[in-house]
């Protein structure tokens, strides 16, 4: 039921699509716990997922928290921004940047990071724990 989700939102987030194939939704936090135009880190068992609330673009993104460069659990503490129109995050350690939408490394040849789908229902942020990529 696509509409029930959209109806829950006062204004629809631009990049959220309904992923029917996702069954494993993790309730990550409340919308107001997320940091506007920044990231927080979500614990998922042994894993860590970085969740970004890109308020400026009215978009949500989730990626792995570990930076592939030196394997630091740091991406959620990185600054987000855009390169032309591509949303990206910069690792605080050595400023390698990764696309938030595809996970691709935008500066050099680090491997890509995993990205996850995000949905919002009744003010709760859910992360689909099967990676998109």
């Amino acid at each position: 039921m696509e509409n029930s989700l959209i109806n829950n939102l006062s204004k629809p987030y631009k990049n959220l699509k309904i992923m029917n194939e996702q069954s494993n939704w993790l309730a990550a936090c409340r919308v107001e716990d997320a940091i506007e135009n920044g990231g927080v880190c979500v614990k998922h068992g042994e894993d860590q997922i970085a969740l970004f609330y890109f308020t400026r673009r009215n978009e949500w993104y989730a990626t792995q928290n570990e930076c592939p460069h030196k394997k630091q659990m740091a991406l959620s503490r990185g600054m987000i921004g855009s390169a032309t129109d591509e949303p990206k995050v910069a690792c605080p350690f050595h400023k390698k940047t990764f696309s938030l939408s595809t996970g691709e490394c935008l500066s050099g040849d680090e491997c890509a990071i995993k990205t996850y789908p995000v949905k919002i229902e009744n003010g709760t942020v859910y992360i689909g724990t099967t990676p998109k990529s």
């Binding site: 990550a28 936090c29 716990d33 997320a34 940091i35 506007e36 135009n37 920044g38 927080v40 880190c41 979500v42 614990k43 860590q48 969740l51 890109f54 400026r56 673009r57 570990e66 030196k70 394997k71 630091q72 659990m73 740091a74 503490r77 990185g78 600054m79 987000i80 921004g81 855009s82 390169a83 032309t84 129109d85 949303p87 990206k88 910069a90 605080p92 350690f93 400023k95 940047t97 040849d109």
Partner: protein, 837 residues
Amino acid sequence: MKEPQIIVIGNGMVGYKFCEKLRSKTSSFNVIVFGEEPRRAYDRVHLSEYFNGKTAEDLSLSTENWYQEQNITLFLNNPVTEIDREQQKVYTANGLDYSYDILVFATGSGAFVPNIPGTEKEGVFVYRTIEDLDLISSYAKKARTASVIGGGLLGLEAAKALIDLGIEKTSIIEFAPRLMPRQIDAAGSDMLKSKLTDLGLQIHLNKNTTSIEGDGCITALKFSDDTVLDADMLVISAGIKPRDELAKACGIEVGPRGGIVVDQKMQTNDPAVFAIGECALYDGMIYGLIAPGYEMAEVLAANLCEGDKAFTGFDMSTKLKLIGIDVASFGDNFITEPDCRTIIFENKHKGVYKRINVSNDGQYLLGGILIGDATAYNLLLQTSNNRIVLSENPEELILAASGGSEPASGTGITSLPDSALICSCEGVSKGDICSAVANGSCENIDEVKKCTKAGTGCGGCLPMVKDLMTYTLKSQGKYIKNVICEHFNYSRQELYDLIHIHELKSYDAVLDALGKNDGCEVCKPLVSSLLASLWNEMILKKGNDVAQDSNDRFLANIQKGGSYSVVPRVPGGEITPDKLIVIGEVAKKYNLYTKITGGQRIDMFGAHLNDLPIIWEELIAAGFESGHAYGKGLRTVKSCVGSTWCRFGLHDSVSFAIRIEERYRGIRAPHKFKSAVSGCIRECAEAQSKDFGIIATEKGWNLYVCGNGGSKPQHALLLATDLDTETCIKYIDRFLMFYIRTADPLTRTATWLNKMEGGIDYLRNVIINDSLGMATQWENEIEKLIASYKCEWKEAVENPAIRKRFSHFVNAPEDKDPTIEFVEMRGQKRTAEWKTV
């Protein structure tokens, strides 16, 4: 009409370059390329980077689709095995035949393997292809000692690769009495040898290998002097052997010591057959470098398109970095007296050797050798190639301070003729570069590279290309604007003024009013720093926090592993025993590593993000405050004890240092800045290495500015002498404001001054004589900043919304990051090494 068909044998660097040059001139000709190696042509010159993480794809010279897009048929893994010149046909390994109208040999060369018994043994390698490197790196895993036969350019490079692969003991065996016998002289070789020995390489000169010992696998080398050297593996790099076997078999003329004989048009004795690159022998010589190979490709491609070019030999000057050591030779490097005058500069301590050969009349530079410091290479090469008349003191050419871009004599880039060849790999002249810039087609270095191709080969000419670009832009009166990033079309200084005028107070407000799109990791911290410099409000105010660099955002320095370090302020380095005890107690309680910093305070490492607020709380309760070690702003003001204890002290340097540190603490600037105060000229506080430093005199204080430690140390310069305390502070106020307003992002005061037209005299005029008329405004501005100072730690722990941010997991606020690991060392903890895969 059917297009004439060109067959190229060999898909190496020169074969590829030929295709590229041909296609840039014409789309006619059917082109078929046969390669013996299993992959598309790659950058052999940078082959060793394969060991430093570059992949075969990174080294590739073209994209996968390139050949198809260019309408070139490429066969890989399919060497040509036979040629029938009568029928004009080639036969290949896969059993097919193709006819040609024009045949091009670009078969390159192979490693020359001397006739020593035992070269067939396991563990003996050559160094030429990616496959060779794969074999070497897998064998190296079980080897402890290794040798390289050959102390030339390639041998040294192979030796470096072996060190990088983790071989404990690597030796170089050279038959000649010196290293790199083709490029450098005996004195240069001595210098190089001692530097290489320092790096752990063993060098054996004058050694003739007679056999390779071992039963199946190599175990040792035997020499003609009956000595033996253990070796688990061996790389032979004793020179190159042109791949002329195929040409020879079909009756094309080859030289007595190998190489396909060609004329100025690269034509062989069969008019339909040509040879280019390392397989071609021109005028009795094989050109074993990439630049002449590319020139041959250009000559042939141009002539096939009705051009009229000739290859007439090539300058074999080279500059390379071997294991971090500069080595260069140019022009006539070996000519000796009495045919010339030789000037030699040698500094054994620093491992620098420079030799230039000057014509007997002192007019021209003939050639030379540089070891240990080759910064002057490009200019020397140009000076010699273009026969630029030397100044009276040619020794200045090699005495010029290293790192300085222009030697003192009249040989700067401006005096080069337009025909001067700047990029020899791609054959780009000074005129080409300057006119590309002048006609407006390129305004930055990437564009220059794209449209002229200069600097896209070995890259050695890039600094000169850059200088030429800047020089041309400047001479056209073009303003070279340092825009911040794609989101702000302003320089830092412009943005500073605009934010001030519009009274903007948050990153988002600045982006909305002056920028575009969503910002990035370059403009966010920069704007945040400007906001802090202008208004000195709490930097973690909602909305601004996420625009701070990670260190500023968490008011602590992020360290390897993801933990943070905590540095409380210790003004002037003065601390009471009680406070020392508190630091010890806090560090113990939260299991922190402690170390005395270079700035006379104590750093506590290894704090979990979650623990930061509580650590600060305890420190604040004991009277500490944030030391701003994380911010771009004032770090410390060091001091010596001065007149309070020291028998030489003239004034109380500690009190002055404390006053200054408390005055400027927390003020944000384009970069961090440091200070120190010494109680007399003995200078125990090292004030002359600081952004501003103060030294007591009989009559008052001397003020020094724009010094700097770090990677490029620079002494501070004397700004004013014998100042009374208040005047000294007034000058520092003005100095700091001038710096904060006008410096480029992330520019320390030393670099800021280096770029300032008029230098220290201009600066003195602005600060002391108020030549800009800004002094009063600046003094007022800085008073405001000082008055609005608050301890950021205190504000963070007292504000629940900010404090909430200091937890690792949003959905498990109590949990710390479980991936942070520490190990023990000398009774304290340290962070675990970077995790490799």
